[in-house]
């Protein structure tokens, strides 16, 4: 089980970062008092637009970042006080975490297995299973730098799962993948759920979340605006699909005038398009 309790993460910005982001404040609240629980045998989805705080939340769960306030427990282990124990139960896959391009999937799988403290026999068995599921055998001895994006993603998933973790965290798992590889990944997420793992995925693709997730937590502007099953969210927003539900919540949440104006303009465009005019007539 993963328990996120009142998680707040505030970044201190350097002068260079302030200049790059064009802001004067030297602090940026990335995640603001977020709480949720992800249970065994379910896929929990973190939904939100880019920059909402999804990745920061996942990075805190995976112990890469420390919470400014609040706490996160992974299988009962505090991610700050018992970071190593928490990491032992986690698999964290994100685009920012890469495999060394100079090594082959087979070598990396063995190396990461050893770093997880596994015996060579267990590593061999896991390799056989995972390389077969993701079709890695054909390119297991090729260097990562020689692989396509899809092959790299498959290798990353296999390597991250070497220790058969209890908690699987995938940040944008199908981002940049072709339809076949994306399907292989989502199928495996269902398989992990069936095995009783805690699966947490973050995505901004609503259709993917609707299909994958048992429960969903929406994060907008760093805040956890709603958490529940798909039907609970649709019911509370009086909508029929997750995308409409998201926009309904988004509209009531955003305070930034520019974003609000942008959203209203988008609505006008859609209405004009539906009534037979395109945007050029406006």
């Amino acid at each position: 089980m993963v328990e996120v309790k009142g998680l707040t993460k505030i970044y201190k910005l350097s002068n260079r970062q302030k200049k790059e982001m064009n802001i004067k404040d030297s602090k940026k609240i990335a995640v603001d008092n977020v709480s949720f629980t992800a249970n065994e045998g379910e896929i929990f989805g973190l939904l939100g637009p880019n920059g909402a705080g999804k990745t920061t939340t996942l990075r805190v769960i995976s112990t890469l970042l420390k919470p400014t306030r609040g706490e996160v427990l992974v299988e009962g282990h505090d991610t700050v006080k018992e970071a190593e124990l928490a990491r032992a139960d986690i698999c964290f896959l994100t685009n920012e975490l890469k495999l060394d391009p100079k090594f082959t999937p087979r070598y990396l799988f063995r190396m990461f297995g050893r770093l997880h403290g596994l015996s060579d026999e267990i590593i061999d068995a896991r390799q056989e299973e995972l390389f077969s599921i993701f079709g890695i055998v054909d390119f297991q001895d090729k260097k990562i730098e020689e692989l396509s994006t899809g092959m790299k993603q498959k290798a990353s998933i296999a390597v991250s799962l070497v220790h058969d973790p209890k908690v699987v965290i995938f940040d944008e798992p199908t981002n940049g993948l072709d339809i076949i590889t994306a399907r292989a990944v989502t199928d495996y997420l269902f398989e992990l759920k069936r095995k009783g793992k805690v699966v947490i995925v973050s995505t901004h693709i609503m259709s993917e979340a609707q299909k994958l997730c048992d429960r969903i937590g929406m994060i907008i502007g760093g805040r956890n605006v709603i958490t529940g099953t798909l039907s609970e969210i649709l019911e509370s927003t009086n909508t029929t699909d997750l995308e409409d539900a998201f926009f309904a919540i988004y509209r009531t949440t955003i305070t930034n005038e520019d974003e609000l104006r942008e959203l209203n303009d988008l609505d006008k465009q859609i209405k004009l398009h539906e009534s037979g005019n395109d945007g050029e007539d406006v």
Partner: protein, 402 residues
């Protein structure tokens, strides 16, 4: 311990299984050294042989026949030309300046008469010579022919006084072959002590620099460091594994460079004209140097790693490391021009102290205690930096730019 070993093997494998890196780190420098020393040796040999084979053109004005005969006997290959017109001397001097003539010897008019009719109080005739020190041929001609003038002077003196013993009063080292009491190996050590600390320091640091920035800043840049950080291993184990691998690889590069340099000592001896000096290192010196170099590698690797940790990418790491590299170069240069005894506290100065200790091992001017101090200080300094790196690995702002 297993974690450190796995990280160590991974780092070693990354370099040693990469043909480009092996070539760049181990083969290229040797090829460069062989090429550079080979070209230098060949050029020097060609130059010396060319000067040796050159037929010197010597012009003499007003010289007695006996002197000309002595000149021609001195070097059969040279061409001695007699000049009868004094006005030609101006033109000949211009030729010496231009490198077209090598040596001019001018006797005063009526030289032999003046010598033969000499009485007390008379003015002693003066023989003038002209050569061009910036021209190798001219300088070589001067070296070859000027002793003939001295021989001729003694010949005339002997004719005047009968025997030279009466006017010599005493001689200096005329049959003393042991005048030079130098310890050849110490003299050679002094020369090596001038060059080696500087070269070894910069080569060690250069090796650590390229490897260290790739291993730490390169991992951050490639996104593979974060992958390591989500593993259930102690950050300190990642640091130790990396530092040990970097130390091994840096020491390997230093050994390769060292072997290249030792192989080039014969060429260096020829080039520096240090015949008589023994350019070699004793077994004891080699062992002491090895122990010292290992502790230096530890410090250099730790410095490079510490600076790389704070860099976002390899380019930024190079910018941070460059000032430290300059300090190493300056420390090496300072040991080259130091003649006074080394104070004990100097061995405590990081970077400079070890370079000085290395020099003093070669010149046999360091005690065991002083060397021990240097090594212990080095190890403590390196350990402190390693501790800082370990702590920095815990810092999310530094490691993940968060």
């Amino acid at each position: 311990m297993n974690t450190i070993k796995t990280i160590y093997y991974k780092e070693m494998r990354r370099v040693l299984f990469d043909i480009k890196m092996v070539f760049g780190l181990f083969i290229m420098p040797i090829l460069m050294m062989v090429l550079i020393y080979g070209i230098m040796g060949f050029m020097a040999y060609t130059m010396f042989r060319d000067i040796e084979e050159h037929k010197s053109s010597v012009y003499v004005y007003g010289a007695p026949d006996k002197f000309v005969e002595m000149l021609e006997d001195n070097d059969k290959s040279g061409v001695v030309s007699k000049v009868s017109d004094k006005s030609e001397l101006k033109k000949l001097k211009d030729m010496v300046v231009a490198g077209d003539a090598d040596y001019i010897i001018e006797f005063p008019d009526g030289f032999l008469e003046d010598v033969n009719s000499y009485k007390d109080g008379d003015k002693v005739p003066q023989v003038k010579t002209y050569y061009n020190p910036s021209e190798d041929y001219s300088e070589s001609a001067m070296d070859k022919y000027s002793p003939v003038i001295e021989d001729y002077r003694l010949y005339l003196l002997e004719e005047r006084v009968g025997t030279l013993d009466a006017v010599s009063v005493f001689t200096v080292d005329s049959d003393n072959n042991e005048a030079k009491l130098q310890d050849d190996s110490k003299a050679g050590g002094k020369l090596l002590g001038m060059i080696l600390p500087y070269i070894i320091s910069i080569l060690l640091f250069a090796g650590a620099m390229s490897l260290g920035s790739d291993s730490i800043a390169g991992e951050k840049e490639r996104g593979t460091m974060a992958t390591m950080l989500v593993l259930p291993v102690k950050r300190s184990h990642i640091v130790y594994g990396k530092l040990l691998a970097l130390m091994t690889l840096s020491a390997m590069t230093a050994c390769v460079y060292g072997a290249g340099m030792l192989a080039s000592i014969p060429v260096a001896t020829t080039l520096m004209s240090v015949n008589g000096m023994k350019l070699s290192i004793s077994v004891v010196q080699a062992i002491l140097l090895l122990v010292l170099v290992i502790s230096m590698v530890f410090v250099y690797v730790a410095i490079v790693a510490a600076l790389s940790v704070f860099a976002k990418d390899m380019k930024e790491a190079s910018t941070y490391i460059m000032p430290a590299y300059l300090v190493v170069i300056i420390s090496g240069v300072m040991t080259m021009f130091r003649s006074s005894d080394t104070n004990l506290f100097e061995y405590f100065i990081p970077l400079y102290g070890p370079a000085m200790a290395m020099r003093n091992i070669l010149t046999q001017e360091i005690t065991n205690i002083e060397l021990l101090f240097t090594i212990v200080v080095n190890l403590i300094f390196g350990a402190l930096i390693a501790f800082v790196i370990t702590k920095t690995f815990e810092n999310e702002r530094v490691m993940l730019n968060a």
